[in-house]
């Protein structure tokens, strides 16, 4: 028995070693840095040990702004993108004509570069001295005044960021959900039809539970993805996100490390650990809720 388990560990060694070196060690290291005040990676020195880094980060208005932005982004985009993706997927699976065309169209954003799309969004929304931009032109038709979406009020910038995020994450969700819908055995629908089940009841009592594992997967990964948003904001508002008031938590971590105000690995570590704890908590809550509502 002893020898057999030793053999087992031997087989596991490569994977364990890789995970240890590239995942566990950095994680532990970040955790350690987050308690070391004024850590300097070049000289490997620090002043003292304590919760000061956390205190600093939690009192930093830029961090609080980033935290707020991230939460708003998560709370708006995850339900919205998942819900819209579900609607579109149901639509896609019930049409016959041009199905392939629409599926391709909806999938296109997924294969497009984030920064390129961000550029297009910026052009659509940007208000300059010469033009109000395409979106403002459309707003004008409805009698609404021009809004500066890129350099204007915070809510307008938030709207653009959410709009962009939803647009970018939806194709993957649609792809997953259409295949989930297609994998539901037609017999269930036939059985429901024979029993005179209304369409809404079929959707809520049969379709939704049947695809619930996939839906749950999308919600969890959606939450995690949105909490880790960064490049989307950069694509639209440029690298100086703090000035634009549009920073996200990952953005804050990045700025603390490499940005103009950077060079503070201790603060960055503390912020990263805070983000980690938040994501972990949300994911655990998700898992708990899913126990009751997801049917494998």
């Amino acid at each position: 028995m002893e020898r057999r388990s030793a053999k087992g560990w031997l087989y596991l060694l490569p994977a364990v070693a890789f995970l240890g070196v590239f995942l566990v060690y950095p994680l532990v290291d970040v955790f350690v840095y987050s308690f070391e005040e004024g850590y300097n990676s070049a000289s490997q020195s620090f002043f003292g040990v304590g919760p000061y880094n956390y205190s600093y980060v939690l009192h930093d208005p830029y961090f609080l702004q980033a935290l707020k932005n991230t939460f708003v982004l998560v709370i708006i985009t995850v339900p919205l993108s998942t819900g819209l993706a579900l609607l579109i997927s149901v639509g896609l699976s019930s049409i016959q004509k041009l199905k392939d065309l629409f599926q391709t169209v909806y999938f296109l954003p997924y294969v497009t570069n984030t920064l390129a799309v961000g550029l297009v969004f910026m052009i659509l929304f940007k208000k300059t001295a010469y033009t109000d931009g395409l979106v403002n032109l459309m707003l004008h038709w409805f009698g609404a005044g021009p809004v500066d979406f890129i350099d204007g009020p915070h809510w307008a910038k938030m709207f653009v960021l959410c709009f962009y995020t939803v647009w970018v994450v939806m194709p993957f969700k649609i792809l997953i959900l259409t295949s989930a819908l297609a994998s539901v055995n037609q017999d269930y629908y036939n059985a429901a039809r024979i029993d005179g089940t209304s369409r809404s009841r079929i959707f809520f009592r049969i379709t939704l539970p049947m695809i619930s594992p996939m839906l749950f997967y999308l919600i969890i990964t959606g939450f995690i993805g949105a909490f880790k948003a960064y490049s989307d904001a950069v694509a639209i508002f440029g690298v100086n996100l703090n000035a634009a008031g549009m920073n996200t938590m990952v953005g804050y971590v990045y700025d603390m490390l490499y940005g103009d105000s950077g060079g503070y690995p201790s603060y960055a570590s503390a912020a990263a650990i805070i983000l980690f704890v938040i994501v972990l908590t949300i994911t655990c809550i998700n898992l708990l809720i899913s126990r009751k509502n997801v049917h494998y």
Partner: protein
């Protein structure tokens, strides 16, 4: 509830778009199912039996022809308004619902005045569950049930709304041999107790013969023969039906009628009052009687003991298959040392078919 099918035809466009011609799944099917009978739709796969079932329940619309339940023309009614219960081949139980919720599901769909009270629903669900003897499993999920139990839940779900017609699509094909035997008795019992007109589809002739009041044998969308199982077995209308019914299957010979005598190769076996012609001869396994001076000379290949009966495997030059299989009583066991065996034939177990059309030839054999 009497079910009448009138000239029912269903065509599908060919999957291969290059072929313009439609696929005819069911062709000109007319049949009146008497009230309260159990009908077995029987045929090889692809013969249109499942399509017929789908036409009756309304999942598919016929290309032409009418369907009546009693006096009501239901041809244009959607499935939910027909009052049918359908049991699917894979049962189609909702995996995320318990047995009770599954059985309640059709009742919860009812609206307005039709909708029973909650207590009434539960009572009816329990009643249906008791009928199929699963009332102790009400809180389980389908995945926690055996195949046979799932089957019963599916039947209970189909019965709970008291359908006018019960339809079963290959209900036993997912069960193991022993359970199949037991479940088919069960289906028969439930059908008798409820008195619901029932149609069930199967490719297993033994299954169809054993529990049906009447069987419908189909081939390529065309009904071959309708009748009581024993009648169809004893008097098949063509070679296909004769071959399809019976285990072991019928033995087919290339025969010839010459001078009023039926000949299998060199052997003149029976008198047949027919003009001279070549024919197909079908002989049921139980139609052979070993006799010292029997007219049919066969090469004896093997003897398989099955207890009460024995099965004799023999060869004959005129045999269309690879071997003849005869079922005889154990005490008539031929001597395997000899290498040959001679049979007399029982005339009522021998059928003659036209060589080209394969239709049965009406003839007295003796």
């Amino acid at each position: 509830m009497k079910v009448v099918l009138q000239n029912l035809t269903k065509r599908f466009p060919n999957r291969n778009k290059k072929i313009k011609e439609d696929v005819v799944a069911v062709s000109d099917f007319s049949f009146e199912i008497p009230d309260g009978e159990l009908i077995g739709l029987l045929g090889p796969s692809g013969c249109g039996k499942s399509t017929t079932l789908n036409l009756i329940c309304g999942l598919q619309k016929p290309t032409s022809g009418r369907i009546f339940f009693g006096e009501d023309d239901v041809t244009d009614l959607p499935p939910e308004n027909r009052g049918v219960g359908l049991v699917f081949q894979n049962y189609a139980l909702y995996p995320h619902l318990t047995v009770r919720q599954n059985i309640l599901f059709p009742l919860q769909n009812l609206k307005g005045a039709e909708r029973p009270s909650k207590e009434e629903m539960l009572r009816r669900a329990l009643e249906a569950a008791k009928l199929v003897q699963i009332d102790t499993l009400m809180d389980r999920k389908p995945s926690e049930l055996s195949g046979g139990q799932q089957q019963r839940v599916a039947i209970a779900r189909a019965l709970v709304k008291m359908p006018r017609v019960l339809l079963l699509d290959e209900p036993l094909s997912n069960l193991d041999a022993r359970l199949r035997l037991q479940t088919r008795e069960e289906i028969r019992r439930i059908q008798r107790e409820t008195g619901i007109t029932t149609v069930f589809v199967t490719h297993d002739q033994e299954e169809a013969m054993s529990i049906s009041d009447r069987i419908v044998v189909m081939k390529d969308g065309v009904v071959q023969q309708i009748g009581r199982p024993q009648d169809v077995y004893d008097s098949p209308v063509n070679l296909f039906v004769a071959k399809f019914l019976g285990t072991p299957p019928i033995n087919v010979f290339e025969g010839e009628v010459r001078g009023g005598l039926l000949r299998l190769g060199e052997d003149a076996v029976l008198k047949a009052a027919l003009p001279d012609q070549k024919v197909w001869v079908g002989i049921r396994p139980e139609g052979f009687a070993p006799e010292q001076a029997g007219p049919l000379h066969c090469e004896l290949r093997a003897v398989e003991v099955m207890g009460r009966d024995i099965s004799v495997v023999a060869g004959h030059p005129a045999c269309a298959g690879t071997a003849i299989r005869a079922i005889i009583r154990a005490e008539d066991r031929p001597d395997t040392q000899v290498g040959t065996v001679r049979f007399a034939l029982k005339p009522h177990k021998v059928f003659l078919f036209h060589r080209e059309s394969e239709e049965r030839l009406a003839v007295e054999l003796s």
